[in-house]
């Protein structure tokens, strides 16, 4: 089971193969659900976003099949879901029902998995751990989740200027820690 198979599943979905679509769903939905739940503590929103995402893939599989070449299908699956999540947050904000973004994780240093700790360079890992939680949140949303500064502002429920300030401070802090 390699990553390349997901791209093939998308291509087959584009040709109308519902079995391929079901397989794609089966393989990717647990991961997507878990990742989304870590950014939004409202399960209704997560379910809504996931349904919209997979429906979009079904409807426009042909258009997506072209784009997934030269990138992983899973990567842009996340991009679609992340943007839908932002749209859902915008809708809720309009109705003044702001879904709480997932609570800032309290870090408890020590209980880490050794094998994966190696994937991030030690000094970078240390720097990440020492970074203030709100700065880390901004980095997580922009660098790892691929959101723009505007979208991050909607996700975290803070003004865009605040997101920018935090991103700058995070970059400064990381650079200091790495030098």
């Amino acid at each position: 089971m390699t990553s390349a198979d997901e791209e093939e599943l998308v291509r087959r979905t584009a040709r109308g193969d519902q079995a391929a679509f079901d397989e794609l769903y089966r393989r990717t939905s647990p991961w997507l659900a878990v990742r989304l739940r870590r950014r939004c503590s409202d399960d209704d929103v997560v379910a809504e976003v996931m349904q919209e995402t997979y429906l979009a893939v079904w409807r426009a599989a042909d258009a997506f099949a072209g784009a997934s070449v030269g990138g992983s299908a899973v990567g842009w699956l996340w991009t679609i879901a992340a943007r839908r999540l932002i749209d859902a947050f915008r809708r809720r904000a309009r109705l003044a029902q702001v879904p709480p973004a997932a609570a800032l994780a309290e870090t408890v240093p020590g209980a880490e998995d050794e094998a994966l700790g190696r994937l991030v360079g030690d000094d970078l890992g240390d720097a990440l751990r020492r970074l203030a939680p709100e700065l880390r949140q901004v980095l997580h949303a922009t660098v790892l989740d691929g959101l723009t500064v505007r979208e991050t502002a909607v996700l975290l429920g803070v003004p865009e200027g605040t997101v920018k300030t935090r991103a700058r401070r995070a970059r400064v802090a990381l650079r200091e820690a790495l030098s």
Binding site: A56, F64, A67, G70, G71, V149, A153, R171
Partner: protein, 269 residues
């Protein structure tokens, strides 16, 4: 999708309003259609009201950088439009739907929005996702692959709105976007506008006062190329308390303010 966060993206915002006009003058044909307009607009939905010939369409064109101002200053996203200006970078952040919206009948909705996305320099790999999202946001997901010549007027208008939002613009300019929309579609459109109000500067030019009151955070009334009134919808309605013609408070406020403005303009002459 891991990406890098550039310095330009996190640089502090140096402007106060996405759109800033001072003593703006814009020519339309031989007429000076916008004649000394002062306006500052930030995020939110701004309803642009005014009688025919007030210069609304000319103003929208100038804001879309499609017409060069004849005088005064116009700043979009902090960049002045005087002299040398990098139009390409600026236009990537702008979405525009003109009043006379021409389309290609042979294109499907998706093809049309994709073509516009290419023209707006949306990065290639993001195009399918952005197009699908735009189409869904305007409620055309069912008709995405139908030819545009098979669409009704309201659906065409929505396709036009879809191309305007496909590049996630910071400034969205919609000239008469609700023409041809039935009441239910108009409600959906208002919801879309309210979603956008969170982080986009939207200017909706319309002659339907009710649209403005229902969906806009701010009302801008212009007449003969000048600013008559800028304020929240409730202020417009309150202005109607002192008389005025109309079926609703907003319409009465509209006529009162226009009359007052024209009266003082006459007096000044």
């Amino acid at each position: 999708m891991i990406r890098t966060l550039g310095a330009a993206e996190t640089a502090p915002t140096t402007y106060i309003g996405e759109i800033r006009a001072q003593e703006l003058r814009v020519r339309a044909g031989r007429r000076m259609a916008v004649d000394g307009l002062d306006l500052t607009l930030g995020t939110g939905v701004h309803g642009l009201l005014g009688p025919n010939g007030a210069g609304k369409t000319t103003l929208m064109r100038a804001l879309a950088t499609v017409l060069r101002p004849a005088g005064g200053t116009l700043e979009l996203l902090g960049s002045s439009l005087q002299g040398r200006v990098d139009l390409r970078a600026l236009r990537r952040e702008i979405g525009y739907l003109p009043q006379e919206f021409g389309y290609y009948p042979r294109f499907t909705v998706r093809e049309f929005v994709e073509y516009m996305a290419w023209l707006k320099e949306v990065p290639g790999r993001e195009v399918p996702g952005a197009v699908q999202r735009a189409i869904e946001r305007v409620g055309l997901a069912d008709r995405a692959d139908d030819r545009m010549k098979t669409l009704s007027g309201g659906m065409l208008r929505r396709a036009g709105i879809a191309q305007a939002i496909v590049n996630d613009p910071r400034i969205l300019l919609l000239d008469e976007p609700t023409v041809g929309l039935d009441p239910e579609q108009r409600l959906d459109f208002r919801e879309l506008l309210r979603d956008l109000a969170a982080d986009t500067c939207v200017v909706v030019s319309t002659h339907l006062v009710e649209d403005v009151v229902a969906a806009c955070t701010d009302v801008v009334l212009i007449d003969a190329g000048r600013l008559v009134f800028q304020g929240v919808p409730s202020e417009l309605e309150r202005a109607g308390d002192s008389g005025g013609v109309g079926d609703s408070a907003a319409e009465r406020g509209y006529t009162v303010l226009l009359r007052q403005h024209r009266g003082s303009a006459e007096g000044a002459r």
